[in-house]
């Protein structure tokens, strides 16, 4: 096997990679797509089930309105054309974790078609978008658990019937890195509209990659394979590169790529063909007779559009223009809507956006990463107004920079207001003349030679003398004031 990072270069100039992605996103609804069961993650096996999602005889699906709202919101955020009539269809196949014997999906009349995912900018600064084919709604299968009981497979149907949207891209991606950028951008948009947690690790975002290779200059698509079983964005990139390398090898040797499903094995870092049976489905799609067509009025669709929050690309532009931030700053600060909201609150209250940006990028995100808690929880402990107050205190010389760091750490731990912490911990800077003069007098008394030389005009001694005063004050003296007082003593 070739090291993954070597692959693109090995075939550079000879073959071109073509990738299309199918992304399944689990919608963040309280209840399932077609029944009232909870979608809570982590319940005991089969606890979140009812006759409908168990597919018991005589049950019928009833569409969850909340799922339609989230699906439409996502489709609109992706710039897709949401149709006034879409039709659910049955996708028929047998599997133990598919209790109805079919999945309720959409086929020839999907919820939305078209749209795009921005993945960055071209070298001349134009936005680089990947076109979408369609966005449709469907329900999820349960889980087959193969490693729980020896020699047997267990079925957990808690996930069965959970609402999903499938987002299908055109075969417009030309590198594994583009695929990664596409997925990160798509995840960010889905998070911004609040449609999903979009976590590959937890399975709320799943990716199948259609990969083909063709000689450079060829315009017809090569035979594709579909890679499944990938569980992180970086694994998607590695799997695509591995598969591209394999296909190029086949083509270069005069062979033909077989159309098949490949399963990514993350441990071995390679794809292997799925058993051929998993590949030979005829799903026998037909319109789902238990559900009327989904009819959305233009007014309703426009109302969902009006509800959309500011999307990542727009927010990045606005933060740069409104606050004068760098590209690097806004990339970090707009990673999630929560971070961006937090930053904007701090910046608005404190006033100096660059200082706020530095603090959020450095200290806040560090604390969030260390505690492992989402920013939604973090901001209950360190409210944006409290952080802004700390920045105010630093700017106004009420506390020193190093004291501010100490105070911030204690804010994270205790949730207390910064002034209160500063007072209790004795971290307020002393800027009253009387105590400062007393400390200067003491230092001059203890170091008469240096004092004499300084007063005679030796400016080199300014630094050490300030240091002595700071030390005597236990760090609480306002260094600016100390400098000024020393300067007064110079003859």
């Amino acid at each position: 096997m070739t090291a993954p990072d070597a692959t693109p270069r090995r075939w550079a100039g000879r073959y071109e990679l073509v990738v299309g992605l199918e992304v399944h996103v689990q919608l963040r609804t309280r209840t399932k797509a077609f029944c009232n069961c909870s979608t809570d993650f982590g319940a005991p096996p089969n606890a979140n089930t009812c006759p409908v999602c168990l597919g018991l005889p005589g049950t019928l699906p009833v569409l969850n309105y909340e799922a339609v709202v989230l699906a439409v919101r996502t489709a609109l955020a992706l710039g897709a054309d949401v149709h006034d009539v879409s039709v659910f269809a049955r996708k028929n196949y047998f599997y133990p974790d598919m209790p109805k014997g079919y999945q309720i999906s959409q086929f020839d009349r999907p919820l939305a078609t078209g749209g795009r995912v921005p993945i960055g900018e071209t070298t001349d600064g134009a936005p680089l978008d990947i076109a979408l084919t369609r966005v449709h709604m469907e329900d999820d299968a349960g889980k087959s658990v193969h490693d729980r009981f020896a020699g047997a497979t267990a079925v957990d149907l808690n996930r069965a019937g959970t609402p999903l949207i499938e987002i299908v891209s055109e075969p417009d991606l030309r590198s594994a890195a583009e695929a990664g950028a596409y997925l990160r951008s798509l995840k960010q948009i889905v998070e911004y509209v609040g449609a999903s947690d979009a976590s590959m690790e937890e399975g709320s975002l799943r990716v199948d990659a259609n990969v083909s290779a063709r000689p450079i200059g060829e315009t017809k698509l090569g035979t594709k394979t579909e890679i499944k079983n990938v569980n992180s964005f970086s694994a998607v990139e590695r799997a695509i590169e591995w598969e591209f390398d394999r296909q190029c090898g086949v083509l270069a040797g005069g062979g033909r790529v077989a159309q098949q499903t490949m399963l990514w094995d993350g441990n071995r870092g390679e794809c292997r063909p799925a058993r051929s049976k998993e590949d030979s489905h005829d799903y026998r799609y037909f319109p789902e007779p238990d559900l009327p067509p989904l009819i959305l009025t233009p007014e309703w669709i426009e109302a969902r559009r009006a509800e959309l929050p500011e999307l990542p690309a727009a927010r990045r532009t606005r933060l740069r223009e409104q606050f004068g931030l760098t590209i690097a700053d806004v990339e970090v600060l707009t990673a999630t809507p929560e971070i961006a909201d937090y930053f904007e609150s701090v910046a608005r209250v404190h006033g100096d956006a660059r200082v706020a940006a530095n603090w959020v990028r450095r200290d806040v995100l560090k604390a969030v990463n260390e505690t492992g808690r989402p920013i939604a929880e973090f901001q209950l402990q360190v409210r944006p107004a409290d952080l802004a107050a700390l920045l105010d205190m630093t700017r106004d010389g009420v506390v020193s920079g190093s004291a501010a760091s100490t105070i911030f750490t204690l804010m994270v731990r205790t949730g207390e207001a910064p002034r209160r912490i500063a007072e209790r911990e004795g971290l307020l800077q002393v800027s009253d003349d009387a105590p400062l003069r007393a400390w200067v007098d003491e230092v001059f008394a203890e170091h008469p030679a240096e004092a004499e030389r300084y007063m005679a005009g030796d400016r080199k001694l300014q630094g050490p003398l300030v240091g002595f005063v700071m030390k005597k004050s236990g760090g609480s003296a306002d260094p600016k004031k100390v400098n000024a007082l020393l300067a007064e003593r110079m003859r």
Binding site: L56, P57, G101, Y285, F286
Partner: protein
């Protein structure tokens, strides 16, 4: 009223008597239990009722009597103390729901059908479950894993199907009403064969929640009744929108019993236009059947109706269209019976073999045949030629009806081409399918239709079918009440 035989009381009278305290629900139920025993309704007789729990039924009757005792609200119950039977594809929590199939032998549903819940709320007492062609696929109730049901009028004959158990039980006088399901005629055809009334409501009129699906776009729960009024009461109770069925219609159910009222001029059908569609009277139709229908038209005319000739040109395509769409939906609906979670399971080496054994042994020949047909017509490469084409023609059939109903209020047709045939006489599946020739059209178009007995040929009952536009049950029942009364007057004369 006759307190010695509560089973002979019409549903309205029985419910009123129980509600008013003149008769105990327990006595009514006991009379039905006795009657079932006397006529041999069970497995060793007519084989119409395949599961029952007499003790539970009597306890439920006691509960209705007790409600009357303390709250006095039994008077408000429209079916107080009325014994009912349910086709075995309608889910109940206290009795098995087998669909006449080995694959669901002993299966008890954890929830109840909306129609059953509404019957119970109205004070009805569920007496038992009735035999049926397996998964409602058949026109004779010969295709049940629990053996054939016999026609109580002539025990050498089939009762029709697939709701043959319900029709036979009502004909035998076990109960006055029973629920069936009608996908292509499965309530109306057995009603005709057994000489009772059978109603298939408008698609969406009655919730399908709890009806084990055969062909979801065609299935409707229907009512079999001894008389038009019995059936009307049953339908009024079970009809109505249901949040558990997205295809149920939010259309209020007007009273169907207006037709009961006597009209002063003796012309109850004044102003009603009744269509006579030539496609339902083909040249090959049995002359004696035609004669019976002609007599019925004459009675309607006497009752004030105007008879209008109409044409529904796509009628002859209905059977082929039906036998593409219904099996297609069935092949998907029956996929869930795989042995993995409930019902019968036959072991096998590995998952695929378990599926194979379970389904091969669990389903009978007719069900297997339709699953195979349905799988075929939905397959890649055949979908357009069969399923899509059938849906297009289905649209033409529906259009035939809407055009006909521009000029008439209802249609009157034969329910079946022949009276009940002998058990075992029809072995060719296609010949069996032709039994549905006059009934499948209403399912394909979603319109309501009902059969009522209008006479006999060779001592066997003959049914006439009244078809109405969508949600046109009131007009349909108006014609049915008038025809039933005219026939009774004629018989008494």
């Amino acid at each position: 009223m006759s307190p010695h035989d509560p089973g002979s009381l019409p549903v309205a009278q029985l419910a009123a008597s129980v509600g008013a305290g003149r008769l105990g629900a327990t006595a009514a139920v006991q009379a039905s239990i006795d009657r079932a025993r006397d006529v041999g309704a069970g497995r060793d007789g007519l084989n119409a009722v395949i599961s029952s729990d007499d003790e539970a039924a009597l306890r439920a009757a006691e509960a209705v009597d007790a409600r009357r005792g303390d709250a006095g609200d039994a008077a408000a119950l429209r079916l107080a103390g009325v014994p009912v039977l349910l086709k075995d594809n309608i889910a109940t929590v206290d009795l098995p729901t087998t669909c006449g199939s080995r694959i669901l032998e002993g299966y008890v549903s954890p929830f109840e059908a909306t129609a059953v819940a509404r019957l119970r709320e109205a004070g009805a007492i569920v007496l038992g479950k009735t035999n049926m062609d397996e998964f409602a696929m058949g026109s004779s109730t010969e295709h049940s894993a629990y053996g054939p049901t016999l026609n109580p009028i002539d025990r050498t004959r089939v009762p029709g199907g697939s709701s043959g158990g319900s029709a036979a039980a009502v004909a035998a006088g076990v109960t006055r009403i029973a629920l069936g399901s009608d996908t292509g005629g499965s309530v109306r055809q057995p009603a005709a064969f057994c000489g009772v009334v059978g109603v298939k409501p408008t698609y969406g009129r009655v919730s399908r929640h709890g009806l084990v699906a055969f062909a979801s776009s065609l299935d409707q729960i229907g009512v079999l009744g001894r008389t038009v009024d019995d059936a009307a009461l049953g339908l009024e109770v079970i009809a109505g929108v249901d949040p558990l069925d997205a295809t149920s219609a939010d259309v209020p159910m007007p009273s169907l019993r207006g037709g009961l009222a006597h009209v002063s001029d003796g012309l109850p059908l004044r102003g009603l236009r009744v269509g006579r569609a030539k496609e339902y009277f083909p040249a090959g139709l049995d002359a004696r059947m035609r004669e019976q229908l002609d007599a019925a038209f004459a009675l309607l005319r006497v009752a004030g109706a105007q008879i209008v000739d109409v044409s529904l040109p796509h009628t002859e395509l209905a059977v082929p269209v039906y036998y593409v769409i219904a099996p297609a939906e069935a092949s998907s609906n029956l996929a869930r019976f795989d042995g993995a979670r409930y019902g019968a399971r036959r072991a096998g080496a590995g998952l695929r073999e378990m599926y194979e054994h379970t389904r091969s042994e669990g389903f009978g020949a007719e069900v297997t045949r339709r699953i195979l047909i349905g799988t075929y017509v939905l397959s890649a490469g055949y979908y357009d030629a069969y399923y899509r084409r059938a849906q297009e023609v289905r649209g033409l059939i529906a259009q035939d009806f809407s055009r006909a109903f521009d000029t008439v209020d209802v249609l009157l047709t034969p329910t079946t081409p022949t009276p009940a045939f002998a058990i075992g006489a029809v072995s060719d599946p296609y010949e069996m399918y032709l039994n549905d020739v006059f009934t499948v059209t209403a399912n394909l178009a979603g319109v309501p239709a009902m059969s009522l007995p209008i006479g006999h040929v060779d001592g066997l009952p003959v049914g006439a079918q009244i078809i109405a536009p969508h949600f046109g049950e009131p007009a349909m029942f108006r014609a049915a009440y008038a025809l039933e009364r005219a026939l009774a007057v004629e018989a008494a004369a």
